[in-house]
Symmetry: D3
């Protein structure tokens, strides 16, 4: 099958990291098409970026109308509902995929994300999905998204400190990495802490494959119905 993994920011180094994370877990016969918006914010941090990245995201999605499923590779799940209105294949945000995966592996999870300003948006998403009650805490490291690209040891130290507190204080049984830019850390942190450390890109790619394999598609009645003349 063919899967579009679209990064809704314009930073190609992140897109490359995302593409690698996707290909590492995809089925042998899955073709990963990784791309990013051509216009919009360089990183998505908070409500303004979440809103302004959408035209670029929708434009990018329109370039790939032959795919079997679409993964929106931003942990805020920005634009996922809008993309579902223009696609009938499954459309998954990496945030929701990670939360759903965590919910089947642990009774409680915590999220480790980047800036504090992103926390309320993630909490809104968790509430909308119903999964807020499975989430012990959304923890900000106050590391800007693009700082993750630099591979600074201090950055990793902050993430590790938050995971430690999530386990001991929140009683989290699993950790969700709250940014596509952390995709490369999933395996090593999981090994180090001995708990599931869940990356949204890997989760979303595999779950998208799962929905396709199960023969499922986005519902086209109600909220995601096609737009046509009679609506206007």
């Amino acid at each position: 099958m063919k899967l579009l993994v679209v990064n809704p920011n314009t930073t190609t180094s992140m897109t490359n990291k995302i593409a690698k994370a996707a290909r590492d877990v995809a089925r042998p016969d899955t073709q990963i098409v990784a791309s990013n918006s051509q216009n919009g914010p360089a990183s998505i941090q908070g409500f303004l970026d979440v809103a302004t990245c959408i035209p670029g995201l929708l434009d990018e999605v329109k370039q790939h109308n032959d795919v079997d499923a679409i993964v929106v590779a931003c942990f805020d799940d920005t634009g996922v509902d809008a993309v579902r209105c223009v696609a009938d294949v499954p459309v998954l945000g990496i945030g929701e995929a990670a939360y759903h995966a965590a919910s089947m592996l642990a009774t409680k999870f915590s999220v480790i994300t980047t800036l504090s300003r992103s926390v309320p948006g993630l909490e809104n998403n968790l509430m909308r999905y119903g999964l807020a009650q499975k989430c012990a805490k959304v923890r900000a490291t106050d590391i800007p998204v693009l700082k993750l690209e630099e591979g600074d040891p201090a950055t990793l130290a902050k993430i590790r400190a938050e995971i430690e507190e999530a386990i001991t204080q929140d009683k989290a049984e699993a950790i969700v990495l709250g940014c596509a830019g952390m995709a490369d850390l999933m395996q090593s942190l999981s090994d180090e802490f001995g708990v599931p450390v869940i990356d949204g890109v890997a989760s979303a790619v595999c779950m998208a494959e799962a929905l396709v394999a199960a023969g499922l598609k986005t519902s086209k009645i109600g909220a995601y119905a096609p737009y046509d003349a009679k609506d206007t």
Copy 2:
């Protein structure tokens, strides 16, 4: 004071109706600046329009940086969180203003909106605001937004039928009109049914004036903090 009432769709007849509804209730010394997006959807119906109208909305807001408060005159409250990131004056959506008003006038209200495809987005908003428990039901008339502009008697008949059911079946004690295009119906329906029939434009204009008068502004720490160099 000076109030920006911005219609995030491009239909000027709606903007005019909104402007009239705003001026009908505004304080004598309030200057209403009514405008609409220059680009974007002609009406906002469902998740796709909610997402794609935002760049036009943000552009329009930037033209008016000397106002004391901003009202986003779309019942979906699209872009309100994003606008709060670029303004420090109060920013209100007409949906939320109507829900908050209704919550202080009745123990339960129902919403009468346009197309069914808009219902899930409104229900999401109600949940985010915490006010879902005060809302008995969001009812769709399946009248497209722009059809409201035509003044067809059948349109009004459908709205009236839904209000009737909201009162008798949902036990709603107040009615919220779920579209800026219904702003002109508030008074006559309220008189006819003998219950508060609440229009979001009027509610938001008066509440925005109230917040300004009380000396209150949008919080600039956390989710709505200004964007600056250190975030990137």
Copy 3:
């Protein structure tokens, strides 16, 4: 318009402070009628006072049947539902008005109140209004209500310490002052902490004016219907 701002305790120094806070924000053409119960508790602290202050409150309200709206100036919103049964004008508690205002200015707020014994009642109110999910924490200073009247510097220090913790620990983006006796602190604390510090009296007066200006009244079907012969 004419607004009744009724303090349901019998302490006239508090009524004077409330009257000043009301007049500071009211429209030029609004007449503020500030009064207090003639009988009942000197301060309202906990469930017993909340219950016993009601006859005095209702008596006082009956003296003023020509007003355009009524503000019950006790942060517990005591008697608000009962007053709505005997009035058709808008009736607002200062607690609810502050919560609704905070909800439109910040994604999360904390409340700073007086005695610990009042916290469960405030939490009940937040749950009834649906706004508990917007409230990070209700914090008690353990300062008795009437102690606020003495202007003791230690009192202000305790309030300031709780605000500090609300911002850093609760991640509150706005502060709600949880007692009518704190009305005079709104402006200075707001300036000091750089976040919205919201007083219920100012909020309720401006919101009551807003509802009146928008042509809205208390619903008279259902819970707040007039009492008449057929009910008995």
Copy 4:
């Protein structure tokens, strides 16, 4: 043990019915002291009566300071929190007792009450107690409380019709009778419909005896702490 069962309205025929229902289920060695308020509304229907009956209720409670537990025999549980502030013995409302009993006998129950105006108050109580999720529906018969005293066959027919709908439509597995004035119907309706039909008076009397027997008392820290000089 000695149990005060206090009817917070002034209708002695209801008090007599309540006393009989209490004595029918009480332990042989329990002394039931049944009384009612000397002043206040003749029946309690909606928020105004709920508020205004409290002084009479508190006065009556003060006459009986040697009892082992107190039952407030109004289905709205009016004044229960206030009475807990002045007593250290267990204090139970008949509404809450019936809801707790129903929760241990069925996965879902419906409430059959008197006037529609009382429904929002009962729904508030269910939410405060956490038991709203166990309650399928609160159904009004629109029979005034005192009409129940007349023994009109039409009255019983309305109650029976609502029970029928609760079972078939709400999928209620148990019925809670939502008024002290229905106490005499518990047994016959239970036999007729073959489901638990739960009266609050019987539930509260037996549960109060249970709490006393288990050696439990009202907590006197926090919300129900005794009032003393240091609070004022």
Copy 5:
């Protein structure tokens, strides 16, 4: 009346302690039949034990089909729903009985239980019952259930430390002892801390007596309907 108090683990010293706690509070004319499963886990700690103890529990219940009510004396309320399917008398878990009792004595309670692994199951129960909102926190002492049988002073010290924190940090107004093996500590801890310290065995025995005295039984329509040929 005759009451079956069944311990679903196989440890007879716990059964003896439970029997004593039951008899200490039961009515003079109540016959307590205390028994335990003949097969199954020696203690019930976490989801595996909760599941595997059920056949032994159901076997034991079947030996006693002449009782007036059944108490399942495991704080996880394991098998309670299953037992309700085979009994028409009231069936109570000691967890739910304690939570319901606590809800009528305090606005908020905390639970002190044994191992951390049991916490998620107890939290699930509280959510199912609706009473999670009354519970400030479920606290684990990390004392294994059978360790409680040894009377080690260090064990009591840990329990006391958690109660202390529940009162000061959780603002709990009552304490629920979260294990049948703590039944003997109710009175002394209650005296020491001056708050209701609630044991599930005592609560369930007295509440079971209450339901029987009130003439109530388990509903036999819906979830707990008898199984018969037509279902298979």
Copy 6:
């Protein structure tokens, strides 16, 4: 990979149907091991069967300790938490898998299940998972599980009638088939109604593959920690 799909009832015709549904969607390189309990109920209908099938289920799981993931093929998700305590590979119930899948394809879904007695248990599960808010209604057809095996046209007619009502009345955008015995209907009903009709077996098999491919396992700290000597 190797996947255990275990039917916790003893009806081999159902196991065969489940095996076929699993193999129809599994990856080419996935080995499906389909088995069922050797002892226990022939079908799982309500709380009693849910409890009594567990020993047989756990015994069956123990026979297959070399698998990469385990699917419990009963829509009640019975024993899933217990199985997680004895496995470190991913363990999925078919109910939860279907709910999670539906949540990513539609804003609202309804469940069509067998007997009414199963509805409360499914509603409990939805609440525990947080997904109750995405579920418009759990609808019973009142068809016994084993009746589904007979291929009676009247059976299919009842299911179709409920789907029709779910779409028109509940505004469900997707349908979840609430019994493993309906696995063969997924495709034809999906085609007929033009909405996603989701079978739990297909969903769980593909999601289990997804979790394995993403390198994820069941958390072994907290609720699902291995049992060892120190706990006893």
